[in-house]
Amino acid sequence: MTHLDNLENNSIHILREAFNRFGSLCMLWSIGKDSTVLLSLARKAFFGHVPFPLVHIDTHFKIPEMIEYRDRLALEWHLDMVYGENTRALESRLTFPDGNVSRIECCRNLKTTALQKTLSGEWPRYRMNHETACYERDKNTEPYTGVIVGIRADEEGSRSKERYFSPRDDNNDWDIGDQPPEFWGQYKTDFKPGTHIRIHPLLDWTELDVWEYIRRENVPVVSLYFDRGDGKRYRSLGCLPCTTPVDSDAKNIDDIIEELKTGKFANIAERSGRAQDKEDGGGLEELRKDGYM
């Protein structure tokens, strides 16, 4: 078994465990490379099917190509696609690009709060109708009790403390100091009503693993990750105003893998192009407690 086989099979086991244990389960799909790898793993785990909805939190500041790619893949792979948003903040322009709030505050409004309210079913969810290829208001308002998320332990400090199955209480609080033990492939799948569990099948993967897997499995990724002639590419995808491309002439997956291996980015964080990480020292851990991905 190769290193990638090992990671793949462990992640599939976790996905299947989540599917079996949680009646109201969803997977967050950020359209980025990690959650798209997760989606590919789900198709393998369930032999070509994805038996739960994919939830995307649309900030409406995403790079347009991402949304186009999302809907194309949703149709092609018959995905049960759902999106949610913070309509109120968008309408009253409580966003960073509108100049009314800080970057962190904007993340809180458009991502964290939108995510919490979409997961809980308090705010409208929009579900793709595969016959018309349009989104319609989802009748299902049941809260999701299991949420699959594509985070990796090597991404950023607070993520390294996560478990594969990580509980959040009714205030979405994450008690970092007192996490459940996890051993012998046994996870926390029992939970009090009102709480929910985040499931992290990619926890052991690194950025390099993700790209090597994308190459091996031909996972379709959005072309923003590649240099398209201007010597720049996105290493991590987020909202247009807060994500800057890095200088790189990596034009394809092989180039990216080469770049990661030969050390050009070896000591530079993947999220270094994400402005909100820098604005506030412990901010991300705080946001993560509140449910930020």
Binding site: M1, H3, D5, N6, E8, N9, N10, I12, H13, R16, E17, F19, N20, S40, R43, K44, A45, F46, F47, G48, H49, P51, H78, A153, D154, E156, G157, S160, K161, R163, Q179, P180, P181, E182, F183, W184, G185, Q186, K188, D190, F191, K192, T206, L208, E212, E217, K261, T262, G263, N267, I268, A269, E270, R271, S272, D277, G281, L284
Partner: protein, 596 residues
């Protein structure tokens, strides 16, 4: 060294354990610094910082400094850090030494292939030195190097004796818990003696350095001659998406499975064989082995349930039962006590359980064996656990992955255990298991019999409220099937009550829960024989609920069962394959839903 081929090299997870303040962080700091795994300039920055704050430089500060910089993307955190040698890449799991964090230590250590156990030469063997040693043994980590650290602080003339004493005392302890350490290494992580390079300080020592000890560990791959084991994790039937496969999914715990293999599921004792190994988006496979998250289709459809253990007929079968002997470690704040109900999770099997009896509790601080009725937090004990339902398992000594379990108290995983043996017991489920195992098979397979009769045996269970006319529906369906040349037979449960069930029948027959249960069991057994004979069986009974349907599915070995509720009760839709309104066309609707 070529960085490109470095990623192709193997990875090894190492956990570093020991009592608090025995020098784990310093060992890690040294390993990172001496293998050149630190970012450029880091060491100098920390030295400079120490100089300015008038603190003596310590390698342990490196860890703290790196932790502060995690958000700038350096791959280190409280749990893991990375370094590499010529041989391979290491992930060091830094397990907390404080007793309060035992559950974190276990979480980290359970992912490790080998361990470094650090003992302070001055303080000697402490409570957690023993407790961690014990935990490593229970977690199944066999490769351990013991570092007798801070030996530079011992007067030069006494060093060899101090080292020798700790080595002999700790070896005796480890042998009691079944561990033979790979080596004992005298070290000073602070000074860097015997970490990456040998020092001249301990001239009487001619063994390996810590780095060499790490490189000498074998990548843990348990012997592959173990019999095949796989827990049924789930059964997939995505028929709503026009996929007619019924796939048994699970991860292979040991051995390997090939298409064509004859298999048995325990505790049900049901048997079938593997038709095909299923894959998606990869070349077809004819076999799967340990570690693969697999899936396969069966030749004969049996009702398989999550939590059953699959083995190959002809290989050594697992044990099964509802009482197990085990060594248990307890993490819960409330003690593990015989008065309270718990849940046990073993592989994907899960059932209620109770602590039956405790034979001895092991006290890590005094090394004494205590007699007590319950097991307190951070204790290890030998005990018997009684399960609500039998499950299949191996002893941990024979097959680690199918011989260990966790205990859930309320919503929390509160303990773990390894199975040392089974205690004999005879419950109804075990009788059923025995029936399947002892079943005398005809030389005609179900498939062949089906060809003789031109049909597959099938069971149609029709139920509903008392006032619905299930009998007429069953009779009409029976007639239609016979008219088409099928061999069908209708059996109402009433036909059993005064004959097969006469020994237990009372005046209120089906209204007493216990009696009703036994009548249904007998109906199931009779139907099972009729189905084995190749018939299409139609049975009727009043108001069967989902538990009773489940009991019938357990008794009946084939998986061609159609459950029908007669009546317009929306809340029944979940439990039944089909809901039909009472009336003339009900039997046609059932007919249309039949397989084939």
């Amino acid at each position: 060294m070529d960085i490109c081929d470095f990623h192709e090299r193997k990875e090894m997870n190492i956990v570093i354990v020991g009592h608090v303040d025995h020098g784990k962080s310093t060992v890690i700091g040294r390993l990172l610094a001496d293998t050149g795994s630190l970012p450029d300039g880091k060491l100098e920055t920390v030295r400079e910082l120490c100089r300015r704050t008038s603190k003596p430089f310590e390698y342990a500060f490196l860890l703290d400094a790196l932790k502060d910089e995690r958000s700038q993307g350096i791959t280190i955190d409280t749990a893991r850090c990375f370094f590499k040698t010529e041989l391979r890449k290491y992930i060091i799991i830094d397990a907390p030494g404080h007793i309060e964090f035992l559950k974190n230590m276990i979480t980290g250590a359970s992912r490790a292939d080998a361990a470094l156990l650090v003992i302070d030469a001055n303080e000697g063997i402490c409570e957690n030195s023993r407790r961690h040693g014990y935990m490593l043994s229970m977690l199944g980590i066999k490769q351990i190097a013991v570092l007798v650290n801070k030996l530079d602080l011992v007067p030069r003339s006494e060093r060899q004796d101090v080292f020798g004493k700790i080595m002999s005392d700790y070896s005796v302890f480890l042998s009691q818990v079944g561990i033979t350490p790979s080596c004992f290494i005298p070290t000073s992580a602070y000074m860097g003696y015997n970490i990456a390079a040998r020092g001249d300080e301990f001239p009487w020592y001619d063994g390996v350095t810590v780095l060499k000890a790490l490189d000498s560990f074998a990548e843990s791959s348990p012997p592959d001659d173990l019999p095949f084991r796989m827990w049924v994790q789930d059964v997939y039937k995505f028929t709503n998406e026009n996929d007619n496969r019924r796939i048994i999914a699970g991860s292979v715990s040991s051995g390997s499975l090939c298409a064509g293999d004859e298999i048995m599921l325990l505790p049900s004792g049901k048997k079938t064989s593997v038709k095909s190994i299923e894959v998606f988006n990869e070349p077809p496979k004819s076999s799967v082995s340990r570690g693969y998250a697999a899936g396969f289709c069966m030749t004969e459809q049996i009702y398989a349930k999550r939590g059953e253990l699959i083995s190959i007929i002809g290989q050594k079968p697992p044990m099964y039962g509802s009482k197990i002997k085990a060594s248990v470690f307890w993490l819960g704040s409330e003690p593990f006590s015989p008065e309270k109900p718990y849940k046990i999770k073993l592989g994907t099997a899960q059932t209620g359980c109770r602590l039956d009896s405790v034979s001895s509790v092991f006290d890590a601080s005094t090394l004494e064996k205590l007699e007590r009725k319950h097991i307190k937090r951070h204790e290890v004990a030998d005990c018997v656990v009684r399960l609500d339902r039998p499950i299949a398992f191996d002893t941990a000594a024979e097959n680690p992955e199918t011989g260990r379990f966790v205990i859930v108290d309320g919503y929390e995983i509160s303990g773990g255990g390894i199975i040392t043996g089974a205690v004999g017991d005879e419950s109804a489920d075990e009788k059923l298991m025995l029936r399947n195992i002892k079943w005398i098979k005809s030389s005609i397979t179900a498939h062949e019999r089906g060809q003789y009769y031109g049909q597959r045996s099938q069971l149609i269970i029709i139920t509903g409220k008392t006032q619905t006319d299930k009998k007429s529906i069953a009779r009409t369906l029976e007639k239609r099937l016979l008219d088409e040349g099928k061999i069908a037979y209708y059996l109402g449960i009433g036909n059993l009550l005064y004959g097969v069930g006469s020994d237990i029948k009372s005046a209120n027959s089906m209204y007493s829960a216990k009696e009703r249960h036994e009548h249904i069991r007998r109906l199931g057994e009779l139907a099972n024989i009729m189905l084995d004979a190749g018939n299409i069986m139609i049975v009727t009974a009043n108001e069967l609920d989902s538990d009773e349907l489940d009991a019938l599915r357990q008794i009946i070995t084939i998986d061609a069962i159609l459950t029908v509720w007669v009546g317009n009760d929306v809340n029944r839709i979940r439990d039944f394959d089909l809901c039909v309104a009472d009336g003339a066309d009900a039997s046609d609707k059932i007919y249309d839903a039949l397989e084939g």
